[in-house]
Structures are given as C-alpha cells and as structure tokens.
C-alpha cells in the first residue's frame, strides 16, 4: 500500500511562506508529477513528504498513519535525488545495500534483493564498480536501484533526469515509466520539464507560489486548463492568448484586424481567448477570424511553426502543415477552432473549464 495524503500542509521559513495550506491526495500506485517554475515550492513539498524538511503546519499521512513528525526512515519512502547522491566510497553493490545493512537485513536476503534490482536496471555487470567509474545514466540507474531494494511504499523523484543529456533523458523517462508499471508503487515525481510531466504522469499537479494551480490528467490540463498560468505552462510551444471582447450574445470580437467574429455562445465576458498553435490554421486573409502578416516561419520537419504578426493581437504562433503554401511576408488569415479554444476572464480563470 502507498497512499499519501497532505492535509493543509504548510512550510514557512520565518516570515516566508513556501507552501501554503496544501491539500493533496495520492492514491496507491498512482504516478503523480508535480510541476512548476523554479521557486514554486515543488521540491520543498517533495522534501516535506520525504521528511527531510520539517512541516510547519498541517498534516502528512502515509497509508492513513500520521507521519508529520516522523523521521524519513519511518515513512518508508525512497528518494532519488537530482544529483544522484551516490556514496562515492562504496561500490554499486554497497550503495544499493547500504539501507538494507542499516536495517540489519540478513546478508543473503540483501544480496538477493540487490541482484534482483540490478537485473531489472541492467546494472549486474557494474555491481563492483565505484560511482566515479560510471556514466551519468548509469549513476542515475544506481540511485534508482538503491531506492528499489528497500521496497518502499512510495518513491520520490526530485528532478532525476535534469543532469542527463537529451537523448539519455528520453531513455530514462521510458525506463521510469516501465518501472512504475512493473512495481506498481506510488511515485511522486518533481520536475520543471513539462514534457516529462505530460509523458509520465497519471496525474499532474501544477504549482505556483506554494499553491496548487490545477491538478488532473495530462489531457485535462492540456485541453482544459483552469487558468492562464496552467494554460501557458503546459504545452510546448505555448498557447496563444488573444485579447477579445463580447460583442453581442453569440459572438466574440477579437481586437485585431479581424473581419470575422468568433462564434462563442454564453453569458460570460471573457477577456482573452487561448488557442494552441495546432488548433489554429492559416487561411485566406478574408476567411480568418483575424489576419496578419507572416513574420517568420520555422521548418520542423513534420510541420511548420509560422509566426503571424496580427496588429494589436501581437505575434500568433500557428502550426501549419510542412507544405503550407503561405510564405513569409504574405498576408494571411488565422482560423481558430472554436471547439478547442479556452476562454479566460479578467482574473485569468478559465470560463467553463472544470477546476
């Protein structure tokens, strides 16, 4: 079992509040990714769950047991650090077995566990090497192996892939996903990389300034962001935000060079329309919801990233087919798919989206 629940958990350093009254329920076996810009408190939150940082208010419970004041080892969680944090004076085998040795696990049992974990992580030939003789990816696998052998109720990952190069990061990401399927253990994963969050998570928790901005499945967050922050943070390239005004009951007027109003029935008065590049298309100038001039375009292989300068609406990023006939300098119209657009009110909250 490995349910983790936070009840109004808070952390303050003197007058500075890092985490504010945070509630979070994590189910057994769930893969939760906590994502946010640097300084949002995501690492602090993870360390509070680990027991490395004191929780100054509220409660943390693991499997229903209050562990707010418990030591890290009592919580039976394992952590994988960004910097790997391998003991340099111990071999891979000793690194993985250190926790077992401290827990006085019989040597034969410990050996079997270490070898099983090493086999899972393809570390068997490296067991008698020292960390300095390993590559970055191998070190990170040892750090994960050290976590596995203890059979914790949950795994905590603190930006584990940040120190790896891009290609290795993709491989390790797949390995971590596979590990989650094999072990079925609860995992909490902190990252600032929204691609990692999207690909790994059962549920993403987006944080800002010590608060949860939104939580939900990657698809929910991508398609129905609860606010401007989440809309801008999730998805790459970023969502376009276009200023707008409700003209009459059914229509929104984009304050650009538009000649067509966007059909958006409803009573609310949105201030901005959010549309992802792939939900926009390039059309003839008079056929679009707004128009502008192509300022630049980037060929990305499968598609083309086209930047349209549209008067007061600013620069709009449109994902166009790679063989798009429109050229830089040409006047174009931009068509918005109304079904996939998000609307935001003056406070930045999404209209009609579920929280």
């Amino acid at each position: 079992m490995g349910t983790i629940s936070l009840n109004k958990a808070g952390k303050r350093y003197g007058a500075v509040e890092i985490i504010r009254d945070l509630d979070l329920e994590i189910a057994d076996g769930e893969f939760v990714v906590i994502v946010g810009p640097s300084g949002c408190g995501k690492s602090t939150l993870l360390r509070m769950i680990a027991g490395l940082e004191e929780t100054t208010s509220g409660q943390i419970a693991i499997d229903g047991r209050d562990v707010t004041a418990a030591s890290p080892v009592d919580r039976q969680l394992a952590m994988v650090f960004q910097s790997y944090a391998l003991y340099p004076h111990m071999t891979v085998r000793e690194n993985m077995g250190f926790g077992l040795k401290l827990a006085k696990v019989p040597a034969a049992t410990a050996r079997a566990k270490i070898e099983a974990a090493a086999a899972t992580l393809k570390l068997t030939p490296l067991l008698d090497r020292y960390p300095k003789e390993l590559s970055g990816g191998q070190r990170q696998r040892v750090a994960i192996g050290r976590a596995i052998v203890r059979e914790p109720v949950g795994f905590l990952f603190d930006e584990p892939l940040s120190n790896l190069d891009a290609a290795l990061r993709v491989d390790m990401r797949l390995e971590i996903a596979k590990l989650h399927r094999t072990l079925g253990a609860t995992m909490i994963y902190v990252t600032h990389d929204q691609v990692e969050a999207m690909t790994l998570a059962d549920r993403i928790v987006v944080m800002k300034d010590g608060r949860i901005m939104q939580q939900g499945s990657p698809r929910d967050l991508y398609e129905k962001p609860a606010n401007l922050f989440v809309a801008q943070f999730i998805g790459s390239p970023k969502m376009n935000l276009l200023a707008c005004r409700r003209r009459d009951g059914e229509q929104l007027d984009l304050s650009g060079e538009g000649n067509l109003a966007l059909s958006m029935p409803g009573a609310a008065a949105p201030e901005q329309v959010g549309a992802r590049p792939e939900h926009l298309s390039l059309v003839a100038p008079e056929a679009g919801h707004c128009r502008g001039v192509i300022e630049a375009s980037e060929y990305l292989g499968g598609n083309m990233s086209v930047f349209v300068r549209a008067g007061r609406l600013g620069l709009i990023n449109v994902s166009a087919p790679a063989d798009t006939p429109f050229r830089v300098g040409e006047a174009v119209g931009v068509h918005i798919d109304p079904a996939r657009a998000s609307l935001f009110d003056s406070l930045g909250a999404a209209i009609g989206a579920r929280q």
Binding site: L52, P72, F81, L86, P88, F98, L102
Partner: protein, 273 residues
C-alpha cells in the same frame, strides 16, 4: 638548454631554501677537529663518531627513550585531537550556532601565545600527577592540535554535498552512522592532512615538553638540547647536529610517505559531473 637552465634554477632555489638543513647535515658528519678549521659544506673526512655518541645510551642520555616519548606523545596528541575534532567539526559545519560562535572562539584560542597556559597547566598537572608523564604531554598536545584539525575538518565537511547525508537519512542512517559511514570516509584526505600537520606540530613542540617533563617523558626536542654540552666544556656542534638530524628525520619521512594522501578528492562520482 631551457630544460637544463630550469633544473639549474630549481637546484639553486632548493639549495638556498634548505641551506640550514644542509649545513646541519654536513656538520653532523664532521669531527670536532675538522669543525674548527672547515666551516664549508664539504666534509673532508666524514665520520660517524657524532652519531655513535648520540646513539650511545648512558644513565643521563637515552636518545631511544626520547624518540619513543616523542612518538608516543605525538601520536596521542594527534589521534586524540582528530577523534575529538571530527564529531565537533560535523556539528559545527551543520549547525548555525557552532559556525558563528564556537568555531571563531576555538580558533582564536590558537592565536593566544601558549606560554599563557604554562603556569595554570603546571599547577593542574602537578595536582593530577601528570607531570613528566607521556599521557600528560600527549593530552596537552591534543589541545594544541585541536583548533587546526577543527578548521581543516569543518572546511572539508562543509564541502560535502548535503544530498549525500540526506540520501543516508532516507536509507535509515542515524546521525552517528552518517558521521562514521558517510562523512568520515569522505573526509579521509582532510583527516590525513590533520594527522600529518598535527603529528609534525606535536613532534616539534618544545615549550610544553620543557616545562612539563623532566626525565621519564622527555621528548626528543628537549632531549636533543641535553646533548649540546654533553661532556661539558662548550657546545659540541657535531653531536648537536647529529641529534637534530635524528630528531628531524621521523616527521620528514612521514610527510614524504603520506603526501599522496593529502591531495585528491574523495567525492568524485558522488554527485553529477
């Protein structure tokens, strides 16, 4: 050509810097007669006579006892200092109070001239029956060595990545286990450095040896001075030089042997990079 010049300059500097040692070395091989006529570095008729005198054990002079005393008190004074300094350094490096208050206080203690401690120490040692004992001299040398060991170890511990200790905490290690199984092995270069510097300081210490010992626990620094006028009638420079060479050899050998341990970091491979 350039290489030869480089070696020439290097040799010149080495000779200049080590001139006193070379003079002592050459003097120790000269007979009393040659000494009076030949002040140069070159020895015309080398003799081991001076060394024979030094190693000759008499009722009054026993070089082996002095060497053994020095070895015993320097070892005690160094090992004890490091054993005490390691946990203290860990607490100081990881706690705010220690870093801001304790460390400056202890380090400042080293700045005070040691003679200040002489009178109270003598009285305390008399009362504790530690006068002229190896234990007594060893204890006071440990105190002399403590501040430097502390500074070296605090800096070493401060440079250790905090994640290593956090990883050990997650693995279920107690503070003591972290200190012994993670921090201490990783501070090995600093520990060895403290041991070497401590040993050399303790070996060369003269003041407390002179003050607190009389016969049984006399260290070689004090014992050497006994040889200067061993047979009366002025200083015997040859014998004095020989005893100084004998006394200086152990710390020099130690430095040469242990030098490799000082350099080199232990944390390669711990964190990224």
């Amino acid at each position: 050509m350039i290489a030869a010049l480089r070696w020439f300059v290097f040799a010149l500097a080495a000779i200049a810097l080590n001139f006193p040692v070379l003079v002592t070395l050459s003097t120790s091989f000269k007979s009393a007669r040659e000494l009076s006529g030949n002040p140069g570095l070159w020895v015309n008729a080398p003799t081991l006579e001076n060394y024979m005198t030094v190693f000759h054990v008499s009722d009054r002079l026993n070089i082996f006892l002095y060497l053994f005393n020095s070895l015993a008190v320097a070892t005690l004074g160094t090992v004890l200092a490091v054993v005490l300094a390691l946990p203290a350094a860990y607490a100081i490096a990881r706690g705010k109070f220690g870093e801001r208050t304790l460390l400056p206080l202890i380090v400042n203690l080293r700045a005070v001239p040691l003679i200040i401690f002489a009178i109270p120490l003598y009285m305390m040692f008399q009362w504790l029956a530690l006068l002229d004992t190896r234990l007594g001299l060893g204890l006071i040398l440990a105190i002399v060595n403590l501040p430097l060991a502390l500074v070296i170890l605090v800096n070493a511990i401060r440079d250790l990545p905090a994640e290593l200790e956090e990883a050990a905490l997650m693995d279920g290690a107690s503070r003591t286990q972290i200190l012994l199984k993670v921090v201490a092995p990783l501070c090995r270069p600093a520990i060895v450095t403290s041991l070497i510097f401590g040993f050399i300081t303790a070996w060369n210490e003269f003041l407390f040896g002179l003050m607190l010992t009389t016969s049984k626990a006399v260290p070689v620094t004090v014992g050497a001075s006994f040889f200067f006028a061993a047979s009366g009638g002025g200083v015997q420079w040859g014998v004095a030089s020989a005893v100084m060479m004998v006394g200086a050899l152990p710390p020099m050998l130690l430095g040469l042997v242990m030098y490799r341990q000082i350099s080199g970091s232990m944390t390669a491979g711990a964190v990224k990079g």
